[in-house]
Amino acid sequence: MAPDADPRTETPSSPDEAGEVMRAAGAQGRRLRIRGGGTKSSWGTPTDPPDVVLSSERLDRVVEHNEGDLTAVLQGGVPLARAQEALADSDQMVALDPPLGNGDGATIGGVVATGDTGPLRHRYGAPRDLILGITVALTDGTVARAGGKVIKNVAGYDLAKLFTGSFGTLGLIVEVVMRLHPRPPRTVTVLGCSDDPDALGAAASAVAHSPFGPECLDVSWREETGEVMARFGGTAPDAGAAEVMVLLQQAGLEARLAGDDDDRWDRQRARQRSTDGAVVRVSGLASELPRVVRSAREVGASLVGRAGLGLSWMALGQAEAGELVSAIEEVRRRLHPFPCVVLDAPVEVREKVEVWGDDRAVPPLMRRVKTRFDPPGVCNPGIFVGGI
């Protein structure tokens, strides 16, 4: 059913106003789409335009920065970059570095809702690992809080984790409490090159199992050659870097140090996104890295990955929709049974492939969760797994 007018945009500026927008949408059965910075709005299964867009742009307050407690309370619409700026004054950070997290880009609410991550995940984990508390607005107008403001708390159900990565299908993230970490005073990066996927896999594995604990451990592959990248942070990062350089060399890689390394990591995380081609996120296993790299090579994709975690982002360059669809299906065939989720892709591609992969695997339990939290079914309907 095509709507006859552009969707109305609501911009609540307080939790109560947000609750009211949600309640009204639920009561009137108006399909609602939540929007933060708009950097990931195209992700998920394509749907008809919504009736109402709820923009979090005015839910943009840094509510608390509890420096001594290493916590921050942020409204969902706070751009991640602005939060990081505020925290940097005390040499602290939310240890999340997803792509497009600069300027007015990704908001903390959007990053949490999609569970998006960057290279720092190797050491610090994903949004699910850093979120301490959450305030949500549901489609019956309920504004509820779960978790707390302290870094350790097991009271009540962990709704913060439930909402993290739920793509806004359960409700609106009004506010989050995040655990903070100190910014490492110094960083240094070790790089190791090879055009042999097995050598890259062996090198990454050696670093991942070593006792030297890098902040980031990534792999990169493009144009027939690859690189393992390990970043060390701390007051004395050079020693670990030197040890890891030896490990990379022992695995047959050509290794070197890169001192000034910010730009390099910016470029690395930027490659998780694509404006004209397609990006497929592979939930694999670290031990299968060579197979994933070879698959990328064989379909002509470039790849970035969290080498120690088994997560990879495969980027297919600009091509006809039909070619991209075939390439995505080929990747899935080669990497079965690893989940391969299509993130960025032209809409005509996303209409032809199952964005989330095999929807038959979605347990009825997930649908029951959706129904309990969003009984009218109006919150970001249809964009998530299994048509949720």
Binding site: A144, G148, D158, L309
Partner: protein, 483 residues
């Protein structure tokens, strides 16, 4: 009472000897680590496999009988205390390590593998970070239910940060696989929702855990101070210096006295507080930070310091800390422990308040806590042989919980709500918050047969099907009346 036909059915599923109904045998299972609560089940069942668990749960569902799952029974919030006249499902026979996949830093286990066995299975190159002090006996299934913490949470996090996959049996007998060895499988993070749900959402029969490489070096130090406040300030300074030690623990004078009586670890008895700081990481990083820690000890007036010279001494320092609860018997016949959390920056004022409350009630309160994450463990010392002391000790402990919540903290950091703290849930959460929690519970267990009288302060229905009033399972089992 449980229908005799149902008991027979359980016996057909699990074998005669694994279904206990004898009153004396059941006494073993009437309580857990919260020992002053007791409630014998009507029947205790010891299934041997996930499939037997499924059949037992299914039978309970068909008969609308509430049940509680139990591991080693070391929990301190009463989470495994049976429903009176209900079924207790004892999982101790599901104790196999199913797979060690070191290449991918994963271990797959049944629920009643002990916490310590995981690290042993992947050591010495790797370890499993969440380490509750009861780790030698407490089981992974229980750790998952409670989202257990331990001494190394400040840097490494909690059980929930290490569970990547679960096979669970829902209360209608359905078996659901959530997550796996891989990260970021599409769909809701129901693994994250299940961990810490205190046995109210189902039974985990297969658990996939992440393990991590052991650090290159450890540097374990102790600073001795005249007062807890000085030790607390040292912690603040360490965190402000940008350090994330693997563990930061404080023991007060009374705790040191108790634990020294037992472990003889060499802590001096004439100090007000001991601060244990363990750094880990690369050798170079530990050395660089070690000097900073010693300087902070000195700056805050440490009367002495100790540095572990080898792995044995490190183990001894930790042995004393881990024995703190058990050793309380040396200074008091009974104790009641809470695990409230405060924002660490409010430590001094909350400790002052605890001291005032301790004087007001006339009970000694020992303090031992995870100082990095503000997780207190006030141990209220009392003597249950004196009439009324237990009640007054509980009242004092409750007042401490309230003081912690008022300081912006939480009623529980790692022990769980269970029976013990459900009355405090409303100190921390509004009715709307509790209703939101209930939505999750209803999605998993609409009949609320799984551990029904835990976590939530008052029984509430799922209200999915409009129509005539239906009895809450607790009412049906004759445990609760409608109120």
């Amino acid at each position: 009472m449980i229908d005799a036909g149902l008991v027979e059915h359980f016996r057909r599923i699990c074998g005669h000897e694994h279904v206990l109904t004898d009153r004396h045998e059941l006494r073993t299972y009437e309580s857990d680590g919260l020992r002053h609560y007791r409630s014998p089940p009507a029947v205790a069942i010891l299934p041997a496999s996930a499939d037997e668990v499924r059949q037992v749960v299914r039978a309970c569902h068909d008969a609308r009988v509430p049940w509680v799952a139990r591991g080693a029974g070391t929990g301190l919030s009463g989470g495994a205390i049976p429903v009176e006249n209900g079924v207790l499902i004892v999982l101790t026979r599901l104790n196999r390590i199913l797979e060690v996949d070191l290449d991918n830093q994963r271990v797959v286990v049944e629920p009643c593998v002990t916490n310590a066995a995981i690290s042993k299975a992947v050591g010495p190159s790797h370890f499993y970070p969440p380490d509750p002090s009861s780790q030698v006996v407490s089981t992974i299934g229980g750790n998952v239910a409670e989202n257990s913490g331990g001494l190394h949470c400040f840097k490494y996090g909690f059980t929930t940060n290490y569970v990547t996959g679960l096979e669970i049996v829902l209360s209608d007998g359905e078996v659901v696989t959530l997550g796996g060895k891989e990260l970021d499988r599409p769909g809701y993070d129901l693994v994250g929702a299940f961990v810490g749900s205190e046995g109210t959402l189902g039974i985990a029969t297969r658990i996939t855990l992440r393990v991590v490489p052991e650090a290159e070096a450890h540097k374990t130090t102790v600073g001795y101070f005249e007062s807890i406040e000085q030790a607390g300030q040292a912690v603040t300074d360490i965190v402000a210096a940008g350090m994330v030690p693997a563990a930061i623990e404080i023991m007060d004078k009374l705790t040191i006295e108790a634990t020294e009586s037992w472990t003889h670890a060499g802590y001096p008895l004439d100090v007000g507080a001991a601060l244990i700081v363990e750094l880990d990481g690369s050798e170079a990083e530990c050395e660089a930070r070690f000097g900073d820690v010693m300087e902070i000890y000195e700056r805050n007036g440490a009367t002495g310091t100790r540095v572990a010279q080898d792995e044995n001494e490190r183990a001894l320092i930790w042995k004393a800390r881990k024995a703190a609860f058990a050793a309380m018997g040396y200074v008091s016949p009974y104790y009641y422990v809470q695990d409230s959390v405060i924002p660490r920056t409010r430590l001094a004022e909350v400790l002052k308040r605890i001291d005032e409350l301790s004087r007001e009630y006339g009970f000694k309160v020992a303090n031992v806590f995870h100082a990095g994450d503000g997780n207190l463990h006030p141990l209220v010392c009392y003597d249950a042989r004196n009439a009324g002391e237990l009640e007054r000790a509980e009242e004092l402990a409750g007042a401490i919980v309230v003081a912690c919540v008022e300081a912006g903290g939480s009623i529980t950091g790692e022990h769980g709500v269970g029976l013990d703290k459900k009355r405090h849930m409303t100190d921390m959460f509004s009715e709307q918050d509790l209703e939101a929690f209930q939505r999750l519970r209803c999605a998993f267990d609409a009949e609320q047969l799984a551990n029904p009288d835990k976590v939530m302060p008052t029984p509430r229905l799922c209200g999915e099907v409009p129509g005539p009033y239906r009895k809450h399972p607790l009412e049906q089992a004759g445990v609760a009346e409608r109120f």
